[in-house]
């Protein structure tokens, strides 16, 4: 299987490492208009750097990872599918529902030709998240009724040209980071969202960088998501999750989840052997298996669209100060660029 990666930034490195770890996979091309970045990533994995996506479409690669800034996900994914490439698009699927719906349609068309499209909601492949999903599905906690997830960390420093800080590019932490929670929780509740509310505060960047969000799912399930790009840099990325059912509860916390904690003279304690460290490889392996076996992908465009609907509804709620009803099937939420801080 021959592979190309579009984009040579932070997440592209994670994809490249994952592809390299899988047998029978050849990372052939790395495309990025920033030549130095493309060369650096390509060189590390014996791939060829190219400067444009059309070089990829014209090549013989089978699979393309889209690891570019969010606003480019739709045009690149759609062009890739139309060129007959299987496309794994990084999360979020897109920054706007219009884009996401266009991708969904392109994915459906491609499906008829045996071409697969998947969105990289990597949380689903983390062993802790996966284990909790299994416990919920087995009914061990009864019916899932409430959930909360916090994903908190410092402002990410790795975006090229600082596009994370531009709400029209990234959608802020709600669209870029909390999307993990939205996807995971919608997957667990297995029900569409019906109402979303959010409150937030802007710190350092011109968008709400600390946001608290509630989601009501059809059937009554309630979820709370805390997302932050405003935590102290020393605290690192923290994830804590609680799932409550009619007959029990599941909780876990990334502070406690690694079997090894190392404390060295002069630096803060750090965890090693974090359980999620192979999740990109697991995600990509399952995508490649779907391609090989002609089976449905584990994260569909429809599901990724639902997660985006929640995120955009949350940003809409931040903007209007009101709860936002989510009408499934009739996307009405605003574009990413309309995000602003609460007064």
């Amino acid at each position: 299987m021959k592979v190309a990666i579009l984009g040579a930034g932070f997440i592209a490195h994670a994809h490249a490492a994952a592809y390299a770890s899988l047998p029978g996979v050849e990372l052939k091309l790395v495309a990025d208009p920033r030549q130095a970045e493309a060369h650096r990533l390509a060189a590390a994995y014996g791939a060829t750097p190219v400067s444009s996506a059309s070089d990829v479409w014209e090549s013989d690669v089978d699979v393309v990872s889209v690891c570019t800034p969010t606003p480019t996900h739709a045009p690149l994914s759609i062009a890739g599918l139309q060129a007959g490439k299987h496309v794994l698009c990084e999360k979020p699927i897109a920054g706007s529902l219009t884009d996401a719906v266009a991708m969904l349609e392109a994915a459906r068309t491609a499906q008829h030709h045996g071409i697969h499209f998947m969105v990289g909601h990597v949380s689903r492949f983390e062993p802790d998240h996966l284990a909790a999903k299994t416990v919920v599905d087995q009914g061990d906690i009864g019916h899932l009724r409430m959930a909360s997830q916090s994903i908190t960390g410092p402002f990410p420093t790795w975006s090229s040209g600082g596009w994370f800080a531009d709400p029209s590019q990234s959608g802020g932490p709600v669209v870029d980071l909390a999307i993990h929670s939205f996807d995971y929780l919608a997957w667990l509740f297995a029900a569409p969202p019906s109402r979303v509310s959010a409150v937030g505060v802007s710190r350092q960047v011109p968008l709400p960088s600390y946001v608290l969000c509630t989601i009501r799912f059809e059937g009554g399930g309630l979820a709370l998501v805390e997302v932050s790009w405003a935590h102290p840099r020393t605290s690192g990325l923290a994830v804590r999750t609680e799932l409550v059912g009619t007959a029990g509860r599941i909780t876990w916390n990334y502070d406690d989840i690694a079997a090894v904690r190392v404390t060295e003279e002069g630096s803060a304690p750090r965890n090693i052997l974090m359980p999620g460290s192979n999740s990109f490889a697991d995600e990509i392996r399952s995508f490649l298996a779907s391609i090989k076996n002609g089976t449905p992908v584990p994260v569909t465009a429809e599901e990724a669209l639902t997660a985006l609907q929640i995120a955009l509804a949350a940003n809409d709620s931040l903007r209007t100060g009101q709860p936002v009803e989510v009408y499934n099937g009739t996307p009405q939420a605003p574009q990413v660029g309309e995000v602003e801080a609460n007064p």
Partner: protein, 349 residues
């Protein structure tokens, strides 16, 4: 030496609290002059756990004829106002169970009646008396230039169902609501207490998700905005499973402009696993003085010195917490944000 304060327990509908407060009063050296409840079984249940405490079937008699200094009111929430009126008329200081009332008018009336009578009104917001809460209040007070960005708080408990809990707690007429009113008031109060800020806007979801057939909500999530610009969430749900290591929790995570505070009452406890504990072999055993004891001792101090001082929660604190909780119900029901009268940030004292 000062005369021991003479205290009456008015209402025992909050049975576990009435017993605990009574025991704390006696341990602190106060004289529990009597316990009143319209239900003689509840009176006996309290008296049976205390030392030499007579029962009364008429609160006017206990309040008016026994030379009391103060009362502890632990009747059903909808009866608080009646008892407060008797106590205030008799010039007695009051410690009233939370929430203050089932509606805003009665809560305000309770505060007004006590103020007019010149008696102290304390509201039993025990969470203020966690040393961790007082320490954080002090830390935040010392750093006025460090803005509070957000708070995530929760106070979850087991579903308070019979036979372990009295029936009225899940009766909307007597309790005024469910988990949202019962537990959110604690967290609202602590957030106000440590921040010195008031809630300006409320969004909430509420529902009966765990105990089907319940006439009140057992699950809720609140989103709050405050005068100081911070945002907060509260989980007050009755969502603690039967097999849990603990009966309830209280936690608060605070993000400021320069750092992060993480409070959790479950940490200040031993994890005890005993094969002799049927059903729940592993439990969390808190150590140190209980918040009930701390609150009661502070109340007795305030009564003895005739001075109301923090961390006691005042009538205004009790009214504000009810106001926010009721706004949350309105938001959940109507699917809209509810604005609250924006009041100036209090001086932290």
């Amino acid at each position: 030496m000062r005369r021991q304060p003479r205290i009456g327990i008015i209402g025992a509908a909050h049975l576990a609290h009435a017993i605990s407060y009574g025991q704390c009063l006696q341990r602190a050296g106060a004289t529990v002059v009597g316990v009143y409840d319209p239900d003689p079984r509840l009176c006996q249940a309290v008296a049976g756990r205390l030392v030499d405490v007579p029962v009364f079937n008429d609160q006017e008699v206990l309040i008016g004829q026994q030379s009391l200094d103060a009362v502890v009111i632990a009747g059903t929430t909808d009866q608080h106002l009646v008892s407060v009126r008797y106590a205030a008329a008799a010039g007695l200081h009051v410690l009233c169970e939370k929430p203050l009332a089932t509606n805003l008018e009665n809560a305000q009336e309770i505060a007004r009646v006590c103020e007019a009578a010149g008696v102290q009104l304390h509201v039993a917001f025990v969470c203020r008396f966690y040393p961790m809460v007082q320490e954080v209040q002090r830390v935040l007070l010392e750093r006025p230039a460090d803005p509070i960005v957000g708070m995530v708080g929760g106070n979850r408990g087991r579903p308070p169902l019979p036979p372990g809990y009295p029936h009225w707690i899940t009766d909307p007429k007597h309790a005024g609501g469910g988990a949202l009113l019962d537990h959110a008031v604690h967290v609202i109060d602590v957030m106000r207490y440590v921040s010195g800020a008031e809630v300006t806007r409320v969004r909430a979801e509420a529902g009966t998700l765990f105990c089907s057939g319940l006439a009140v909500d057992d699950a809720a999530l609140l989103l709050l905005e405050f005068t100081n610009g911070m945002v907060a969430s509260i989980d007050p749900s009755w969502s603690v499973p039967a097999g849990s290591r603990y009966h309830y929790d209280f936690y608060l995570r605070i993000l400021t402009g320069s750092g992060y505070l993480d409070l959790d009452d479950r940490r200040e406890a031993l994890e005890v696993t005993s094969d002799k504990h049927a059903g729940r072999p592993t439990t969390l055993l808190p150590f140190g003085k209980s918040v009930d004891s701390r609150m009661i001792e502070h109340f007795l101090d305030c009564v003895a010195t005739q001075r109301f001082v923090q961390p006691a929660a005042s009538g205004e604190d009790g009214v504000k917490a009810v106001e926010v909780a009721l706004a949350a119900y309105e938001s959940a029901e109507l699917g809209v944000s509810v604005e609250l009268p924006s009041s100036p940030v209090r001086e932290r004292t």
